[in-house]
Symmetry: C2
Subunit: 403 residues, 2 copies
Amino acid sequence: MNNCLIGQSGGPTAVINASLFGVMDEAMKSPQIDNVYGMLNGIEGFLEDSYMDMSTLSDFDRAALRTTPGAYLGSCRYKLPEALDDPVYAKLFEKFKKLDISYFFYIGGNDSMDTVSKLSRYQDVHGEKIHIVGIPKTIDNDLVLTDHTPGFGSAAKFVASAVREITRDACVYDRESVTIIEIMGRHAGWLTAASVLARQEEDDNPVLIYLPEKNFDEDAFIKDLQTSFNRRKNLVVCVSEGIHDSDGLFVCEHSNDIAVDNFGHKILTGCGKYLENLVKSRLNVKVRSVELNVTQRCTTEYLSNTDLSEAEGAGRFGVIKAIDGMSGFMSAFTRKSNRPYTMEYTTVDVNEVCNMEKTVPDEWITDNGTNVSKALIEYLMPLIQGKATPLVKDGLNYFAYRK
Amino acid sequence: MNNCLIGQSGGPTAVINASLFGVMDEAMKSPQIDNVYGMLNGIEGFLEDSYMDMSTLSDFDRAALRTTPGAYLGSCRYKLPEALDDPVYAKLFEKFKKLDISYFFYIGGNDSMDTVSKLSRYQDVHGEKIHIVGIPKTIDNDLVLTDHTPGFGSAAKFVASAVREITRDACVYDRESVTIIEIMGRHAGWLTAASVLARQEEDDNPVLIYLPEKNFDEDAFIKDLQTSFNRRKNLVVCVSEGIHDSDGLFVCEHSNDIAVDNFGHKILTGCGKYLENLVKSRLNVKVRSVELNVTQRCTTEYLSNTDLSEAEGAGRFGVIKAIDGMSGFMSAFTRKSNRPYTMEYTTVDVNEVCNMEKTVPDEWITDNGTNVSKALIEYLMPLIQGKATPLVKDGLNYFAYRK
C-alpha cells in the first residue's frame, strides 16, 4: 500500500483549502496512490492519532471545499524540536508506517516548511523513504525562492478593494478628516503595499502608505499629513500592523505601556487605534481608524481567481513531482512575464525556504517611505485578476466544514 | 422652468447612490422636469451655493454610480432649526426659486426626514409650491412605517457573510476560543440580528447574539459562554455596538472611565474590545474581537441585488408620485408576502416618520436575549437575495466620484 497524508498548519487563508483540494484530487486520481488521509490539526493532532479518510468527504463538501476559507482539516502552531534525535520523530514515523504513508504533503508558511525540512532531514539520516513535500501558503507573501505565495493574491485583492470602498465612505463630508487603515503583516509589507491598487488615479487616496520595511517616525507622519491636506480634504492612510520606530519598537506597543483597563490589564490596541489617538491629539481634524483584521484572510467574494487556481495548482504540482520521485521540496512559482502574465511551477529545496523571510525590496518603496513604486504595481496587478464563484445557497456563500 | 434638486444626507450606505441614480434617471426622462441638479454636501453645502448640474456626469460616472458606495454628492449632518421662522428657511427657498426648483428629493435617514418634514411644513405655511420628497436610506433599518429601508439588505448580507467567513477562520485550532464580532447599530439591533443568517445549520456559530433592545449583563454573558463551551470548542459571539447595562450605560463606556493613553486622552475602544478583555480576565481561553466597522456600509461585492433594485426603485417611485402631484411624503415599502417575496412601493407622511425609531420587536428576540426567532429569519431572508455586478476595471470594482 502507498498511502498519502495531507496536513494544514499555521494561520488560515482564503485559499488554503484550494491547495488541500488540489493535493487530494490529484492524489486520488493517481494510480500510484491508494488511500488519501488528512491529519486533523496538523502534526500536533496527528501525534494524538487524529486523522480522517478523505474519501469519506460528502459530494457537497468536495464541491464547496475549494472556496471555503479557514482550514478544513484544522490547523496547529506546533514546532518540531531542533534535535533530530528527539523521540517525537521516531513516534511520528512509526505512525506514518502504521498508515502505510508513502507521500506526505504539508500546506503552510515558514514554520510549516520548517516541519517539512526537519522531517526530510530526519528521514535522510534514518533511511526512511517517504516523499515529503511542502505546499506554500501565506497571505504575507514572505516566502523566499518563490515569486509569490498562494493566499497573497486574494488577500491583496481584498485589501485593495476594501481600501477603495472605505475611501468612498471616508470622503462624504466637507470637513478635513484622516482615516487610518491597519493592514496585516508584522515584518513584510506586501499586503499593505497592495493598498496602492485602491487608487483609481495616480494621486488618489490612499495618500500615504507605511510599510514595516522602513522605520516609522511620528513627527514625520504628522508632517506628511499636513502636507497632504494641501492636496485634498479627506485623507486615507494605510499602515502595516508591524510599523515600528527606529529602535525597533512596534508603534502598537507605544500605547500599551500606559493604557490599563479596569481588570488591571494592559489594553492592547493596534497601531491604527494608536495613530488615531495621536492624530487627534496633534491635528484638529476628524479621525477614524479601521482594522481590517481577519477578514483579510477569509473573505471569499474578493477571491482572486488567479490565486485560487495557483493554490490548487501548487497542490497538484506537488503530487506530480512526488510521484516522479522527488522529496524535500516546496512547490514554487517562477514568473515568466507580466504582460501577459505567465507563470511556471517549480520545485525549490525546502531547507532553503524555511525560517527565511522575504520583505519588500527597498527600491520598491518610494517618497521617503510613504509610497510604493510602479514596479511594485506591475508585480501586484496579475495576482489579483479574475473572479471566483463560490458555491451559493439561499443567497450566501456556502462552506465545507467538519461538524 | 420646472427643475429638480437632489440631495444626500447622513451616513453613507452601499446603495445610497442607487437611489440617487433612480431619482436622477427618472427625473431626466420625465417631460415635466427640465434640469436636474444635485446639491453638494446636502442642505449645508447648498446654503453655500454648492450644487452641480447632473447632466454633466460623464457616461462612465453614470454607468458606475449605481454600485458606488459613499455618497456621490457628498453628505452633511445638518439639522434645520426647530423654529420655522428662522431666516435660514427663507434663504433656502430663495435659493430654490433662483434655480426654478419645483421638485426636491432628499435621500437619507431619520435626521434627513426631519429636514424634509420641516421644509414641507414651512412651505405649507408660506404657500410655496415645491414637491418635497424623502427617499429612505439607512443600514440601521430603523425607520417606521416602512417594512425595511434601502441599505439594510446589503449591510445585512455583508454581516451574515462576514460572520460566516470569520467563523471558519475562528475554528481552525483545537483549543477553546471566543471570537467577538462587533456590529453597527446603536439603538436598533436589526443588523446584528442578521448575523443569525451566518449559521449553515441551526446550532452553528454564532452561538450567542446580543442586541441593544435587551439589557446586557456581564455575569450572564460569561455564564452563557461557559454553557456554550459544552456544545463546541470555538465560540463566535455577535454583539451590537449599542449593547448597554440595565442603567442604560453603553458597555463600550465601561472601559472609557479608566483607560487613558499617553496623550492623556481616554482610549475609546468599542464594546467588542471591552468584552475581549472581560473574557480574557474571566476565562482561560483564546479571545479575539473583530469590529466590522464601516466595511458594513461600503462593501460592494456583497450587495444584495434586491436591496440595490429597491434603493433605485424608491428613488424612481418618489419622482413618479411627485409628478403625480404629491409632496411631503417618503417612499416606503410594504411587504405583501415572504415566499415568494413580493413588495409594493407606497408613500407615507414624512412627518410621521421623522424622529421615530423602529427597533427589533421583543417577540423576535429569544433565549433570554441571546438569540433571535425564526420569524425574524423569515423577515430577513428575502432582503439579502440576489447578486449585483459592480463595474470592474483592471480586476477591481470601479467607482464614480467627483474629483
